[in-house]
Subunit: 160 residues, 2 copies
Amino acid sequence: MPTDLRRPERTFTIRQLCTEFKATPRALRFYEDKGLLTPARDGMNRVYSYKDRARLILILRGKRVGLSLQEIREILELYGEHDEAMTQNAHSLKKFREKIVDLEQQREDIEGAINELRTACERLEKHLAEKRPDLLPKAADYDQMLRARLDGHPELLGAK
Amino acid sequence: MPTDLRRPERTFTIRQLCTEFKATPRALRFYEDKGLLTPARDGMNRVYSYKDRARLILILRGKRVGLSLQEIREILELYGEHDEAMTQNAHSLKKFREKIVDLEQQREDIEGAINELRTACERLEKHLAEKRPDLLPKAADYDQMLRARLDGHPELLGAK
DNA sequence: GCGACTGTTGACGTTGACGTAAGGGGCATA
DNA sequence: TATGCCCCTTACGTCAACGTCAACAGTCGC
């Protein structure tokens, strides 16, 4: 399939990306300032390519897992130049390995935190059910919240 | 086993807890300022009980998963008074549910990030092996790093 | 030609989570 | 008695990641 391979020539305005990913123009410009994004220009205006959009997705995901913009930039740089400062890359490799260990630890932590929150919720629910059943929120709320998350952006759920 | 049940009367100085958990005195005092810890006093000096230590563990774990001190305090308060402002607790329940959804999303993100870092590492390793095998770090480093994490603080690995 | 909208570049403000420096007390060891 | 070391409080400084605001430019529809 030579044509339509990921809509290569498609471009985006800053606001399009912002509304798509619930970011702000200020944030995107900030990322650019920090070297994480380098959109083209049409006169003054920024023009984001499909690749820029992909980078933005990685940036936002990195943020959600607690990486700093600095760390995210290092990762992004890996997907660019391949024949540059090798010493630098050896350093990156080490840092990435450390980060993996970090993240595995963090995953453990999250499991623990989820469990704690769950039991805390159960306690609270039981307590409320006994004393103030009128205050109990409906299960529908939770459902709706979940659905809202899954809507619209399947690419945020672990896609490449 | 009535005696020695979790060494009940054991206490700690601020520095002991700091070195044990790699925190700083400033941080512990800060947590106290924000109402997350309330150690006893011996004159001016803080005296941390075993319970305080347990709370500190929860605080640090909360931080690692990205909870704000404010959120952590809410969770900790749940393990205390049980007959207080019920309206407040209904609110907490809602926030906890939201946080669980957040954390589940975050866990997904971490899975993805780990995978990306792994493939990035593989790439880099391959690239380095071809062009600059002298810069390749030894696998032993990684091992040692892992062991260092697991040492000393088994209670950090998801215990209650 | 005129809003309304969207875009731009500074520059300053804000929030959370501490760091750091200043000033002082308590106790032990040299 | 002086020198450390650890503790305390108060207060100002810092850093990341933006938010907010000002001041201005391009373009669309009428």
